[in-house]
Symmetry: C2
Subunit: 136 residues, 2 copies
DNA sequence: AATCTTCTTTAGAATAATTATAAACAACGA
DNA sequence: TCGTTGTTTATAATTATTCTAAAGAAGATT
């Protein structure tokens, strides 16, 4: 069980005041055992379901973006009509089941080290992400 | 110089009749030496510039999607407000310069083989794509 | 606790990419 | 040439996301 204090700390670190709405968002995002892949819309609906309270869509967007900026959420590079996020912010990769529109974590050791043998002058590598698309 | 016959063949293979508009689209897409990374909007504007003729946005969308479905174009998985496509449909990866919103090809040998050590029952791997984000 | 300032929430409007529609038009085969 | 079927186009519809501005809540200061 993740404590409310941790949520407040995450919010403060993200320069956000701990409000009732934001705590509810944290409850859905971070009070879990497993990693959580979601779209804003998934999250929006889950908040109502899990906490019984409605939070406006704008607040969900704002809070998710602040957490992403701070590094508490990771954006997953997929071409989908919606943007996917992940509560697992460690260095890892993904399966994407195209048919079911489902994301599955790939541990780093499931993929092995990736060595990029090319460099662009004046630029440095920010991230390396592998997306493995699955079909039936 | 790529011939008009090749364009017509590509169109027919994609179950599209060779119309003036579609030939113009092919001209911009396939009459090039280097690989071409683009968004629909890039393409839409280039058609006007290069051929002097305007093609409606809907036709650009339809044609690009048909080529993509047939495998003459590849969709590049990036989270951007617009969808990116690539005329290089061989197995390869990308740099993405986040600041300049620019894509750069990575040859397969620049990345090395990627071995996926995990499998999902009933699913097979359709593609493995690496996206390397660059920062200053 | 009262007050003041600053930040937050919210509904709804605005924006922007993409998809759908349906009428005018063009390709193709007979 | 004619008839069928596919295509183009402008425009409307849809959808994810961002913006706005007014009402409300948090935090600091007394």
């Amino acid at each position: 069980m993740t404590s409310k204090q941790e949520f407040i700390e995450k919010l403060r670190n993200s320069s956000l005041r701990p409000t009732k709405q934001r705590i509810n968002i944290c409850e859905v995002l971070f009070n879990r055992d497993k990693t959580f892949h979601f779209t804003i819309n998934d999250l929006f609906n889950l908040i109502k379901d899990k906490t019984g309270e409605k939070v406006s869509l704008a607040t969900v967007y704002n809070t998710v973006h602040a957490f992403h900026k701070k590094g508490y959420l990771k954006e997953i590079p997929i071409n989908s009509n919606q943007t996917y996020f992940d509560t697992n912010v460690t260095d890892h990769h993904h399966f994407f089941d195209v048919k079911e529109e489902r994301l599955i974590d790939l541990k780093n050791e499931d993929v092995g080290p990736i060595e990029i043998q090319k460099s662009i002058p004046g630029k440095k590598i920010k991230s390396v992400e592998v997306l493995v698309k699955l079909e039936d």
